[in-house]
């Protein structure tokens, strides 16, 4: 089995348009959630979100690209460009045959669906743009990444709701570890902050109207975000041989299924994924200093997740730091694990633990060190990133300091 290095990272989200800005915001505990701005927002009950601000697609893509790139693809391409540039890899020759791309998204081109349904249903038009299908399909982003960088190995998209990115990155990790690929571009993207996207979520009655406050006793629901996180996972020896800067090591991954309920999480299922990731990475609970929580700010997730972490870590849960960065960037649904992996990289590489902002009242059912409101300096050797999806699909990634 080969070791796996992360040699490139990129992102765009409500906290910033690149990794440096995003990590600076996480360090400062800045909140990227604010009033939503898009057509018909006044018809919504929920009017806040972690929206990407100041985004000018025309500055980054030409007319032909824009005709084919939904917002979730645009975000992916920007993040992928940053990650590939940082890695210094050139896929144009033989290397491209041994590399691929696995990305996560829950909804794919939601804005494209929304705009074109509006065209035919509300505006009564009988014709839509010829590229609607290739623009909205869930694999559009992965395919455009493969074309842009000449990646001709295994490439596909994973859709497991809120765990999509973690499942995607876990599969990419397994492919590099097994030798099936030399390097993989991986992560995920989501862009469902539009009228239809939020209207659908409103129906579940789990969204907050004012703020995302994970683990806080007065939390009242989740807040959606948008954006992308993309990484280069590379064969460790390949990275070392070319003198690449290794950000962190991907050490383990586990997934589990609750097989129980379409929306309610299960402690046992989450716990099996957490313990499985530790085992897969060859880590003991005592080795892990930080867990980036799924931490949605809903009653159901937060208490179930804390119970699962407490049980999986046993006595070590008492000194473990666990935070949810969703209070800053919102819940990026299928892209969330990718942006949250950045908090783990920051913890391991820079020794800074991102805080859980918006924390106001302790909840006895979430009695862990949630790093409330203010970032903390700590030298740690290993970190986990949790993602638990609707449908009971759990995916946990373990990272080690390089």
């Amino acid at each position: 089995m080969r070791r796996v290095a992360i040699t490139g990272a990129g992102t765009i989200n409500a906290l910033g348009h690149d990794v440096a800005t995003t990590l600076a915001a996480m360090r400062e505990g800045r909140c990227g959630i604010g009033p939503l701005e898009f057509r018909d927002v006044d018809r919504l009950q929920i009017r806040i979100g972690g929206q990407v601000r100041g985004w000018e697609a025309e500055a980054h893509f030409n007319r032909q690209d824009l005709a084919l790139f939904d917002r979730f693809t645009q975000f992916t391409m920007i993040a992928a460009r940053q990650a590939v540039t940082q890695s210094g890899l050139d896929f144009s020759g033989r290397l491209g045959l041994e590399c691929g791309v696995v990305l996560g998204t829950a909804g794919g081109g939601v804005n494209t669906w929304d705009e074109n349904y509006r065209t035919v249903y509300e505006d009564g038009k009988n014709r839509v743009h010829p590229f609607v299908v290739p623009k909205l399909m869930n694999n559009a982003a992965a395919s455009h990444v493969s074309m842009e960088w000449n990646l001709r190995g295994p490439s596909f998209t994973v859709a497991t709701a809120c765990a999509s990115s973690n499942h995607a990155m876990g599969l990419a990790f397994q492919m590099v570890r097994s030798g099936a690929a030399r390097a993989m571009i991986t992560g995920g993207s989501e862009a469902m902050l539009c009228f239809g996207g939020i209207k659908a979520w409103e129906g579940l009655r789990v969204m907050s109207k004012d703020a995302c406050r994970p683990f806080s006793a007065n939390r009242n629901g989740m807040v959606q975000g948008e954006g992308a996180g993309v990484f280069v996972f590379e064969d460790w020896d390949h990275a070392v041989a070319r003198g690449a800067d290794i950000l962190t090591e991907v050490a383990g991954f586990a997934m589990s299924s609750d097989a129980a309920d379409i929306v309610m999480p299960s402690q046992a299922g989450a716990e099996r994924a957490i313990s499985g990731a530790l085992r897969d990475a060859g880590l003991n609970p005592a080795d892990v200093g930080y867990v980036n929580a799924h931490g949605t700010g809903t009653a159901a997730n937060d208490k179930t997740e804390c119970a699962a972490v407490a049980h999986a870590f046993g006595a070590d849960a008492d000194r473990l730091m666990i935070s949810s960065t969703k209070a800053m960037h919102g819940h990026l649904i299928g892209g969330t694990g990718a942006v949250e992996l950045l908090a783990c990289i920051m913890a391991l590489r820079d020794g800074v633990i991102a805080p859980t902002i918006g924390y106001e009242e302790p909840d006895p059912e979430c009695a862990l060190d949630v790093v409330p409101n203010v970032a903390r300096e700590a030298k740690i050797d290993a970190a986990l990133s949790n993602a638990f999806a609707f449908g009971g699909l759990n995916a946990v990634i373990a990272l080690k300091r390089a």
Binding site: N220, I262, A300
Partner: protein, 85 residues
Amino acid sequence: MSVKNRVIAIIAEQAVLDVDQVSPEMRLDELGIDSLGLVESVFAIEEAFDISVPFNANAPEQSGFDMTTVASIIAAVEDMVAQSA
């Protein structure tokens, strides 16, 4: 149909029971209505009476809309219908 009978019909449908098996003093949990069933019931009530029910699934007990029993729902809906009239 009265508000009471319409609410009972909605709850009975959610609980997969006949309307005569649902009476006002019954609790929703004893009728087997889970969290998803609650959210669906709220939706059906909103559609039936053209009202907006303040219900947050994160904290049903703090929503200002008491969904503990069939009777408490009937009372709350009668209130809201009266206010919107």
